[in-house]
Amino acid sequence: MIAILVDGIVQGLQLSLMAVGITLIYGLGGVLNLAHGQFAVVGGIATALFVEAGVNPLAACALGILSAGVFGFVVDRTLLLPAYRSAGEERLLLGLLITLGLSFVVNGFLDYKYPNISLTLKLATPSFNVAGITVRTASVVAAAIAIVAFVLLFAFLKGTLLGKVIRSIIQNEVGAGLCGINPGRIRTLIVTLSAMMAGLGGVVQGLFSSLGTEMGNELTSFALIVAVVGGVRSINGTLAAGVLLGIVNAFASYFVGAYLTLIILLGTAVFTILLRPAGLFAYRT
């Protein structure tokens, strides 16, 4: 029972890593990134390629995450520019369609170029005992990585001037602009950062089980569900929703099977949108 709980929490943390990116990009750029899972896959597969090339696994992970960041940067500076140039509904629509197209491009490319590559990272000691419960080392490491990433992110957002700037843009883009903030550059930074966190999520997935080229859409939909349930503008909400849904996912998979679980999760997302569009944990405004 506790093993399931631990599994759920770890998976939830991993989902939050990606969902936070969706939240940040939507909050700052007004673009709902439907290619976010593909960012994770790019990071993970790049790591796998580096490992295959004989790079030390740790360095390979760092390089993989960096590749995801570079990919995010390039996408932001090229593909998303037309979306940023328009405003309101038009921007949302453009962003949605462009990233949807991008997700197909990445899927198609990886599926064609690297059909048989997947990322599976193995640790030296597969599991250990704590008070009579067998815990997978991978779970602990994955959880630790995710928690460290989140602590760093929160410290960055709450503690630094740049973080304050970012939060101000999320609250009110025009107001931030009037205070002399250039939203464009911050946006690029955030997209890059989100892509790197997604890449980290991809690496964690490889640590936890395995990451294949075809998993982009699956990861995107999970991250999207978490972001929606947590509130697409609330970072704390996203983290809470991730852990909550991770636990629900683990228990439901254990008791009612994988396919019903997915439908439960999807149903949760739909009802959240209909009942509390700002998310379960959002402040009332």
Partner: protein, 317 residues
Amino acid sequence: MNKDRYLADYVTLLLVAVVLALVPLGVGDSAHYLRIVTLMLITIAYAVAFNIIFGHTRQLFLCIGALAGSSAYLSVVLAIKTGLSPWATIPLGIVSAALLGGAFSYVSVRRGLGVIFVGIVTLVFSLIFHNLVLGLRELTNGETGIETKGLGAAVLQSGRGSYYVILAFLMACLVLYHLLMRSRAGTAFRAIADDEFAAELAGIDVTFYKVLAASIGSALLGAAGAIYAFYSGFISPTEYALVSVDIVVLVTLLLGGMGTLLGPVLGGVVFTVLDEIVRPLGRLNVLVYGVLMIVLVITFRQGLVAALRKIVKVRIP
């Protein structure tokens, strides 16, 4: 002036009918190409339906395949389980798709969901549908799919005859579209597409017309999906997946031109030709669709019809 406008519509409808009717002659005896052009008709029908929903009332339904598939699965499974003729179960599928689409639209208009949330809700519905079909093995046979041959819809099964039956269906869709657009509803749709808020202020019942557009569009999607099911002789979740239907229809519509009569037809024809050109690339075709979609969204949002209008200086409907 008004008479003139309808004349252009009639001429276009007639031209489309004649040209598409001649296509099988050009294809000759090749069963392979006959199948491809028949599938083109189905894609065009999807695009006509989606045009009503997205092109005219700006409701981004990312569940084209799921709506078509729900109708298809409902009619096929009912026909198998109850022994009813497909001609009785297809209308049930159509009605269910229309109700589903109408419900999505009603809920999202009532809750004031923006384009993004409509997109998410319908995308999530697509995923739910996909997983339901995979999960309800006893009914749908999961990934393996169901044979639809010999269920009593012989007219729809492969061959030159079925091409003309499906063409008749497509022409019915286009005529319905034409009638819809020249009616009061068409005026309302144009007003909503221009500025929803202003339309509401002018006394247009935005909720009603959006739901109407979504229901009619979904009904047509359902009809096309069910017809495809009986035509192809086999259905599986892949045939109605996001990759196989939604992206193709989006590209077709963007390519041809949203909110036009000829757009979906033109887009469908050009897309089919392009698809044939990239076929040798095998699995890379998904990549090509993606690139095409991005390029169209960024640089060519008005579509072929608008470009043609500029070149030939004739008002094309």
